[in-house]
Every structure is written in C-alpha cells, then in structure tokens.
C-alpha cells in the first residue's frame, strides 16, 4: 500500500465525506423510495400518479404562482434599491448594504411572527387574504437574497462602458436600457433563482400566516404524515427535476452567478 501523503487534495476529503453522507446517499434513498411501491417492487405509478392527480398538479401550479409573484415583487423592489445603492456616491454605502442584509441575521420564524402582527394591524383579519399573505411573507423573507447579487453585479460594472455610451450620444434612459440592464442580467438571474426556488417550498411562511392551502413543501410533509413515503419521495424528486431544469435554463452565466452568490 502506498504511504499516505498529505497534499492539497486531502483538504477536500472532509467535504467529500459530507457530500457523500448527506447529499448523495439521501438522494439515492429518495430515488429508491420514489420508484418503488409498498412491497419494495419497482414501479413508475408514483410518477404517473403525480402528473395525473389534479391535486398534486394544482399544488404545483399554486406553488409556481406564489413563487412567481414573489419573485416579481422582489425583483421590482430589489432592482431600484440595488441600483441606487450601487451607483450612489455615498461613503456609507457599506453600512447601507449591511442594513439590507441585517434582517437575515434574525431568526426567520421570529421575523415572520413579527410580520404577522404588523399585517394583522394593517389587514384587520389576516385570514381574509391568504394569497397576499403568502406573497408578502415570502417577499419579506427573501428580499435580501435578491438585492445582494444585483447590487454586487451593478457595482462591479465597468463605468467606462456607461461613459462610452453617453459619449456616443445615448441619454440616461438609453444608457440604462442598453448598457446597465443587460449587463446586470447575471445578477438578476442569480437573485431570481435564489428567491424562486425556496419560495416554492417554504410552507412554514404559509402556515404561520394562515394560508391553509398546501404548497409543495407541505404536500410532501402530508404524504409522509400519511406514511406514504413513496408518493412523498416522488414529489420531492419531481420538484428536484423542476429545479434542475430551471437552473439549466437560467444558468448560462454560472461564473457570474457564483460571484454574485459569494457575497451571501
């Protein structure tokens, strides 16, 4: 046997172990459950069941709707904020960014509890607006994840490009539309994927804000509570597949994504 030599590669061993133990192995178990039935035999009934059941499909679409609206609201709120932050000449910029990130330092269920009281004050009776509550709660929760990548991208833009555009006769609006916006797309993509995907499954927000309709997360939970591990695993797997497709579609700029995400 070759003698063990410590090299830089060895530094990766802890993570590799972690990966195998907590990511790869559970995934394999998930696959196993998703494609077997109660007797442990191979079946695709769970898969076809998912796509033929109006409830699972309805839940999928409902989750997509919640996630989509949340993402749009986040984007509309985050882009101007990030733009102003990144382009302002304020010396205290760092502090300002910190202020936007700060909510993330507080436990999220605590934040939602606080939000609940605020909404209760504004709406009177929370239960009247379940969909609105879900969107507001999710937006509250995920907004920093949208602001940061966009902020990072915009603040790293090469200023000379804007100046060049201006020199060539573009006005402010044209410069923004032709230069700044297209170049900040990687940040937007990074933010969107960091908001959209968790928003599809974060059912605790719905639970806490009295939306009694299931989204993907709670649906999976309900299958497990009913001891249907096979159906539940299949839903988890389908969700995983959707996320994969989504990421592939969006992921033309993985390098920039990584850069945007690094700040988080």
């Amino acid at each position: 046997m070759q003698k063990f030599r410590f090299s830089r590669k060895s530094l990766g061993i802890p993570y590799a172990l972690y990966l195998i133990l907590f990511v790869v192995a559970p995934l394999l178990v998930l696959f196993y459950y998703a494609f077997t039935n109660g007797e442990g035999r191979f079946t695709v009934a769970n898969l076809t069941g998912f796509f033929t059941d109006p409830n699972t499909m309805g839940t999928l679409l409902y989750s997509l709707a919640v996630a989509f609206v949340t993402t749009m609201v986040c984007l509309l709120l985050a882009y101007p904020t990030a733009y102003i932050l990144a382009t302002s000449k304020l010396r205290m910029k760092g502090v300002l960014v910190m202020v936007f990130v700060m909510p993330m330092w507080i436990n999220f269920s605590l934040r939602i509890t606080a939000l609940k009281e605020v909404l209760n004050l504004l709406e009177g009776n929370l239960a009247m607006y379940p969909f609105l509550n879900a969107v507001v709660g999710m937006t509250y929760d995920f907004l920093p994840f949208m602001i940061l990548p966009i902020y990072t991208t915009i603040s790293k833009l090469d200023g000379s490009l804007r100046e060049a555009a201006m020199d060539l006769g573009a006005n402010e609006a044209q410069t923004f539309l032709k230069i700044t916006l297209p170049l900040s797309v990687p940040g937007i993509i990074s933010g969107v994927s960091m908001v959209f995907l968790p928003a599809m499954t974060n059912y605790v927000v719905l639970d806490m804000l009295y939306n009694s309709t299931y989204i993907m997360g709670s649906l999976i939970g309900s299958y497990f509570s009913a001891y249907d591990w096979h159906g539940g695993s299949m839903i988890a797997l389908v969700l995983l597949a959707i996320i994969c497709i989504f990421t592939l579609l969006m992921g033309g700029d993985s390098e920039e994504n990584a850069r945007g995400g690094a700040l988080l």
Partner: protein
C-alpha cells in the same frame, strides 16, 4: 406541544435516513438497565419548581417537583428494587412522527402515543403485552392498577381491536375530550356548543380548527349529522353509546365524500387550520373560538386569565371525542428482556403514583387517568385547584364520582365549585359525567380506510388544478411564453456577441 416545526422533522428524517439512527449507547455497566422512553414533548414533570410559589399544599401532605420525574424514578427504582436504571428520555411531536421514527429503525422500550397509534402498533404486532404482575393489585408498588380511574379502566378493558382489549397493551397516562374554547363576550354558550359553528357564516374567518385529519373528520361528522346526534330518539336509544360510536367512525365512501365537501366549505369559512397557533390567537383575541383538546383548552384559559381575559370551554352537544395517551412497550425494545420490561412497567407505575400524577398534571395541564384509589391526593388536588372558597357566592355542587368511583359507587366525590368553573378549566379538565355521555372514541382506521381518509384530506388542502379559472390559465400561459421568448432572445444575442 404539537409543534409546527416538528413537521419538518419528517422531511429531515427522510433526508438523513442512511445516517445510522442508533442513539449513542450509554456506557453500560453490567447490571445497569438502560430504559429508552419516548414521550410527547413537554409531557412530563421536569422539576425545578419554586418551593415558595408552587408547593401544592394538600391535606395528605405537600407536593413539590424538585427534580425531574425521570431522575426521581431512577432513584426510586434503585431504592425499591436495588437495581440501577438509566432512562434515556426522548420526545416526539406527533403520533405520525413517532411511527415514522420507529419505521426508520429507532428503538425505544416504552412509548406514549395516542390510543389510535397504540392500536395501529397493536394491529401490526409491534407491542409486548403488559405482564400479569402489572395488574396484580396486591403489590403496593403497582400504583397504576391500584390507582387508575375505574371509568378509564373500563374503557381500556372493554374496547377491543382484533379481539384484544387495548388495556392489555396500553396503560393510560393522560386523557381528555375535544371541544370549543370560545370568547363569552362574543358568543353565547348556546351558539358555541355545536360542531356546526365552524361553518357558521356569522363568524366568517374568526374560528380556528385543528390541522389534522382525524380531529377534522370527527368534527365534520359531528356537524353533518348534527340533527341526528342531538335528536331525543337517538339519545334515548338503548344502544346509544354503540350507535354514537358507529356514526362518529363512519368511513363509507359516501360519508367521506360528504366530509370532504364539508371541510372544503369550512376551509373557506374558518380563520385557519392550526397546529400550534390556535392557543395564542385565542388569547390575543384574533379569533373568537378555537377547536381544542381539553388539556390545551385548560392551558389557553389559564394564560388568558393571567391577562384578565375570560375564555370559556364547551363540549359540543352532538358528541365529543374522548382520547387517551398511554404507555405501551415495544417488541423491538423489551422483547425477551424481563429485567427491562420490569423497569418499563415500574416507570409506568411510578408516573401513576398519585403524587406524581398530580405533579404531571400540574406541570402539563392535561388530566391524568389516575384517580388514586385509596390514596385521596388526586381528589384533594382537584379540590385544592377548583374548590369554592368558603365565603364564595354562586357555587354549585360538582360531581366527579364517575371518575373516582366508577359505576355503583357511593357517589361521594361531590364538592362545591364556583358556578363559572363548570364552563371553564374544571369543565375541561374533568368534564361532568353528563357531558361525557356524549363521548365517543375514535377507532383506529385500517390501511384502506386510512388511505381513503388521507386522500380526502389532501383533496381538502390542495389547490385542485380543475378549479383554476380560465383567466389564470391565460395569464400563466402568457407569462411562460414571454419568459421563453426572453430567454431564447438573450441566448441568441449572446451568441452574436460571442461571434
């Protein structure tokens, strides 16, 4: 107790399944027994009471939880039997969580789920029956059999599953009924005392109900069959208890369909389905009524009292679900290990010792199945807790003989209480015998029934794709198309730049 976040555990468990679930074994000395107990969260006295504030001063002596019940048990077992025992105590959040934990391979010796889960485990042959010695009334250390309420023991001994009485495998721990906590300033007792209130448009979005399929099912049948259940002819029927049980446990497809329709309309009328928030929402006044287990109802009213806010509890006139949480020994843990089984049964007995039953009741607010037998401390605790002061006006006599004596007793367990208490904590913790006539157990549903009911529940809770309005399809479709066009265009642009 039944924490929301605990539901996430199921998912985490699923994700971590390959990680060996064996709990770290305590260093086992020879002769030392390790007893693995799994109970509901916050469901046993953990000690640390303040001697000044919290001593329960009864005629037969003061009761105070200094150390935790588990520590006291370890010391007591050593003193009594001369054998060292170490309790590995863990908790679960819902019956289903416990079942899933067992499925994954967690091993426990003694667990404390609700009666239907005990029945499920019984039907799956996963339990060890309680030993004959456990039921031996001669042994003074058999606190359970010597102290259990005859009313409860009668139910445990007569209700059967697959021809075997529950009581053979299950020793009761806590029990209770289901009912409605309500705000008497807004609702009259008359209005609140029915399951149909959940569908009452007068209280649109002002009532919370339980977020679990069994409680919802019971509530729905109570509301749907309200007329029958409250009719004199039905109540006067010689076979009333049996008929009531049959109605409340009806799982024919037609009934399930009706329950589904009912719950769907309820979903659009109530404030929410809640797992944990109902108590707080009741206390803060966000809702005016809340479907509640009696133990949690007591807690809710106690908390509200601290804010000088009065809440009442009522048992609906149609029927109420009587439930039990009880101890059962698992085959996977104790089978073939008589020393361990002895320790497990001793643990049940120790928790059933009247002073310990009082400690647990005081600590968690639920009602112990223990009446005390010859030991009067449980009854004294009841009087200490609820008895009227000497100079108090507006008092009534409250009869709990059914619990302490069973049928055919002297009916001597009657004491004076403030009238309002019969609508409040006392009425919830020890419902009157009259109210309990409407109590029905909810049986354990077999695999097919459970499947049908769980499906019904998912139908209620999910957004049905067939209900999506046309405009939503159009808007959604447009959004997808636009997104597609955008992505394709940006790809093409990039290629152009690249070229």
């Amino acid at each position: 107790m039944r924490n929301i976040l605990k539901r996430m555990l199921v998912l985490l468990l699923a994700a971590g399944m390959l990680v060996p679930a064996a709990p770290a074994k305590a260093a086992e000395k020879p002769g030392k027994i390790v007893l693995r107990v799994c109970n509901w969260e916050e469901y046993i006295d953990e000690g640390g009471w303040d001697p000044k504030e919290e001593t329960i001063d009864l005629e037969s002596g003061a009761i105070l939880g200094e150390k935790s019940m588990v520590e006291d048990f370890e010391a007591w077992y050593y003193d009594t039997y001369g054998i060292e025992v170490e309790v590995e105590y863990s908790t679960f959040g819902t019956n289903e969580d416990l079942y899933n934990m067992l499925t994954i391979g967690d091993v426990y010796d003694l667990v404390c789920p609700s009666e239907y889960m005990v029945m499920k485990l019984m039907a799956e042959d996963k339990l060890v029956p309680l030993s004959d010695n456990f039921f031996n009334t001669e042994d003074p250390n058999n606190f359970y059999i010597n102290g259990v309420s005859p009313y409860i023991q009668n139910i445990l001994a007569t209700k059967e599953i697959n021809g075997e009485a529950w009581g053979k495998y299950m020793a009761g721990y806590m029990w209770g009924v289901t009912g409605i906590v309500y705000n008497p300033d807004v609702l009259s007792e008359e209005e609140a005392a029915t399951w149909t209130i959940v569908n009452n448009p007068d209280y649109y979005r002002q009532i919370t109900i339980k977020d679990n399929v069994r409680d919802s099912y019971f509530m729905a049948i109570g509301a749907l069959r309200s007329e029958l259940l409250t009719s004199e002819s039905f109540k006067g029927d010689a076979d009333y208890p049996k008929r009531l049980e049959n109605v409340m446990n009806d799982t024919t497809p037609e009934t399930i369909q009706k329950v589904q329709d009912f719950l769907q309309s309820v979903k659009n009328n109530v404030y929410s389905f809640e797992t944990d928030s109902g108590k707080a929402d009741m206390i803060t006044g966000k809702v005016v009524a809340n479907y509640q287990w009696s133990g949690d109802a007591v807690y809710t009213m106690d908390q509200a009292d601290e804010d000088d806010y009065t809440l009442n509890f009522v048992i609906p006139r149609e029927a109420t679900n009587i439930y039990f949480d009880g101890w059962a020994m698992l085959k996977s843990g104790v089978e073939g290990d008589s020393a361990k089984q002895h320790a497990a049964e001793a643990f049940i007995n120790f928790c059933s010792r009247p002073d310990n039953a009082v400690r647990n009741m005081y600590y968690i607010g639920y009602t112990s199945v223990i009446a005390g037998g010859k030991d009067s401390r449980v009854y004294e605790y009841l009087q200490w807790n609820y008895g009227a002061e000497e100079d108090e006006e507006d008092v009534v006599e409250y009869d709990v003989s059914y619990f302490f004596e069973g049928e055919g007793g002297e009916r001597s367990h009657v004491f004076e209480v403030p009238e309002e208490q019969t609508h409040r904590q006392l009425g919830a913790q020890y419902p009157s015998g009259e109210n309990l006539e409407r109590a029905s157990i909810m049986i354990y549903f077999d695999a097919d029934q459970s499947k049908a009911i769980n499906r019904m529940w998912i139908n209620v809770r999910c957004y049905n794709a067939n209900d999506i309005p046309a405009w939503a399809w159009i808007v959604g479709g447009l959004a997808v198309v636009l997104l597609g066009v955008f992505i394709v265009r940006s790809r093409i642009n990039k290629k152009k730049i690249g070229a």
